[in-house]
């Protein structure tokens, strides 16, 4: 497998002088062609910054971001982006939203329509092609968002906490739909989340990031067989991975929240419940 996306020694600093903030510090990672890779880490660790550098919205202060060995200089339709806030154009109908990228490319209107309707059909949204985004539920909006990003047949899909605003049930369905789409289109995916189960369930590989300044703390390959289902979520391997990542992130979250709690910091901490200690209750 070739390295499709390659991030090399990338650092990102915002501000100047005393107000300078290191958002990302010498991160190196890669995404192979057709691979599903997730970045997970505590909030503010710079995972979205890394994604927006691959998207071309931001340039790294140091290091390089490359796709197919070519440095990325700006946004382009070869990288589809799905945002957490849906980002559909409210003045366009669902179908016109999906057609937007093709229109920018100069595709004829009949071809655009066929392509958009095919994709909407795959996402189960054909009945809503003439609705406006504000008439749709959150899950439907995000499906339109994914379909719109796929319409220009990009080689990479960049997803910045795409299901973060959805309720738990909708999330699970969306994860299945996304997996199906990914396998169908055989594209590389860079996915960002802070949900551990979501990361394991979807990915081939997970990068765990440290608190700010963000760097890679661990790289964890996920060897769970596909297709994955609800049963996957209770396999020993899944639970082992979940615990491992949970512990890695836990340390970082505490760091991010301020002072590091020393080893055994919780010992000697007692809550008096009817004159019984916590240990007795347990």
């Amino acid at each position: 497998m070739s390295e499709h996306i390659k991030i090399e020694n990338v650092s990102m600093r915002f501000g100047k002088g005393a107000n300078q903030i290191d958002a990302v510090s010498s991160v190196s990672l890669h995404i192979n062609s057709g691979e599903f890779v997730t970045l997970i880490g505590p909030s503010g660790c710079g995972k979205s910054t890394l994604l927006s550098m691959v998207a071309g919205f931001q340039m790294p202060t140091e290091g390089t971001v490359k796709m197919d060995d070519k440095e990325i200089h700006g946004p382009g339709a070869d990288r589809g982006v799905v945002f957490q806030q849906y980002s559909l154009f409210p003045w366009l109908t669902v179908r016109k939203n999906v057609e937007f990228g093709l229109k920018m490319r100069g595709t004829s209107s009949s071809e655009r329509e066929t392509a958009a309707r095919t994709l909407l059909g795959l996402a189960g949204l054909l009945a809503f092609e003439n609705h406006y985004p504000d008439q749709l539920s959150g899950g439907m909006k995000q499906r339109v968002g994914i379909v719109r990003a796929l319409a220009t047949s990009p080689q990479v899909l960049l997803m910045d906490e795409p299901f973060g605003a959805l309720d738990a049930q909708t999330r699970v369905v969306m994860q299945q739909i996304l997996t199906n789409m990914w396998q169908k289109f055989q594209i590389s995916v860079m996915f960002i989340t802070h949900d551990i189960e979501e990361a394991i369930f979807l990915s081939d590989r997970v990068y765990v990031m440290t608190a700010r300044p963000g760097c890679i703390k661990a790289e964890i390959p996920i060897h769970l067989p596909r297709p994955r289902s609800d049963e996957t979520l209770v396999t020993p391997e899944f639970l082992r991975l979940k615990l491992q990542i949970r512990q890695l992130i836990g340390e970082e979250s505490l760091k991010a929240m301020g002072g590091e709690l020393k080893d055994g910091g919780m010992q000697g901490f007692s809550i008096d419940v009817g004159s019984k200690g916590v240990t007795e209750l347990l």
Partner: protein
């Protein structure tokens, strides 16, 4: 001395005559709530329309208004009738008894005078000429302000360099009321027609410009990012994302601008004009044709209302999605 005082009062009176135009300045959400109120009526008409039988509008209204609907409407209709009767009644009684309690009704025409004068005027061409000339001035003055206000507003809102270059100068000019431009305008422009157009333009330009800038700045940056990642050029971002995203506020600016355009036009016509409704109203005073003053005032109100109605209609047609935005989502 007496005539001078009455002149002053008539002037302030006719300034106030432009007030019927002011309801147009309500913010857009209010406009939407008004149009939403129209919706139930549309729904009532639909089933009839589906049968394909071409009913006259009158029949549709009768069919649409069932008894309970009528009962709900009744208090509102009654209050409207009372409200209007009070206005016309005060006017009628004031003129009938020539009341002179600090404000004086002795020179004011009665409702009857105005009605018979309207009947007479309606058969004269000059009346319609004045009306068409005023409307034409609105179309051109407001039209130029719309194009320039939206184009400049988008450039200023989007590009910092343009903003730094143009905004300070515009900020200096902005607080000057359009009417204060009248003498300067007469000197600047070669004909009185072009100076009236300029006054109309300057009045509506700033509300349109400022609302457009505001609208551009309120466009969600994530939409711009989405467009860029779908391959949109900067020009297409401006044309397809910024313009559409700012559209609701642009229409707020257009509604306000239309109100100010009428205020400015009438003032300009009264001071420097030949022809036009403002000139007609002012000249009626000079010629002691007092009923014509009332007719001019009423006409200005009706035309202003019509113009703001057109803006609202175009806005609703261009932005069917805005209604959904304000609570139609399910």
């Amino acid at each position: 001395m007496k005539t001078l005082r009455s002149e002053e009062e008539t002037l302030t009176g006719s300034m106030r005559s432009s007030c019927p135009v002011l309801p147009m300045q309500q913010p857009s959400h209010k406009l939407e709530s008004l149009s939403k109120r129209d919706n139930p009526d549309n729904n009532l008409v639909q089933p009839v329309a589906r049968t394909g039988v071409p009913d006259s509008p009158f029949v549709l209204i009768i069919k649409g208004l069932n008894a309970s609907k009528l009962l709900k409407l009744l208090p509102r209709v009654l209050f409207a009738i009372v409200s209007l009767s009070l206005l016309i009644g005060t006017w009628y009684l004031g003129t009938k008894f020539s009341i002179d309690w600090y404000i004086r009704f002795d020179n004011i025409p009665t409702p009857g005078d105005v009605l018979s004068e309207l009947n007479k005027l309606g058969r004269q061409d000059i009346f319609y000429t004045d009306m068409m000339i005023s409307l034409r001035r609105i179309v051109f003055g407001f039209g130029i302000a719309t194009v320039l206000g939206i184009v400049l507003g988008i450039l200023i809102g989007r590009f910092r360099l343009v903003r730094q270059l143009l905004f300070p100068a515009l900020e200096v000019l902005r607080p000057i009321p359009a009417i204060a431009w009248v003498p300067m305008s007469i000197m600047l422009w070669p004909t009185s027609e072009s100076s009236i157009l300029f006054i109309t333009f300057i009045g509506s330009f700033f509300p349109i410009l400022l609302n457009t800038i505001d609208g551009v700045e309120s466009v969600d940056p994530v939409l711009v990012r989405a467009a860029r990642s779908l391959g949109a050029s900067e020009f297409n971002v401006l044309r397809l994302v910024i313009l559409n995203g700012a559209m609701p506020q642009i229409f707020t600016g257009l509604a306000v601008g239309m109100g100010v355009a009428w205020v400015s036009l009438i003032a300009a016509e009264m001071i420097s004009g030949q022809f036009g409704i403002g000139y007609f109203t002012w000249e009626s005073y000079s010629l002691v044709e007092y009923p014509d003053i009332v007719i001019g005032m009423g006409l200005i109100g009706v035309l202003g209302l019509l113009c703001s109605g057109v803006i609202r209609l175009v806005g609703n047609l261009m932005m069917p999605w805005v209604k959904l935005r304000t609570g139609g989502a399910h």
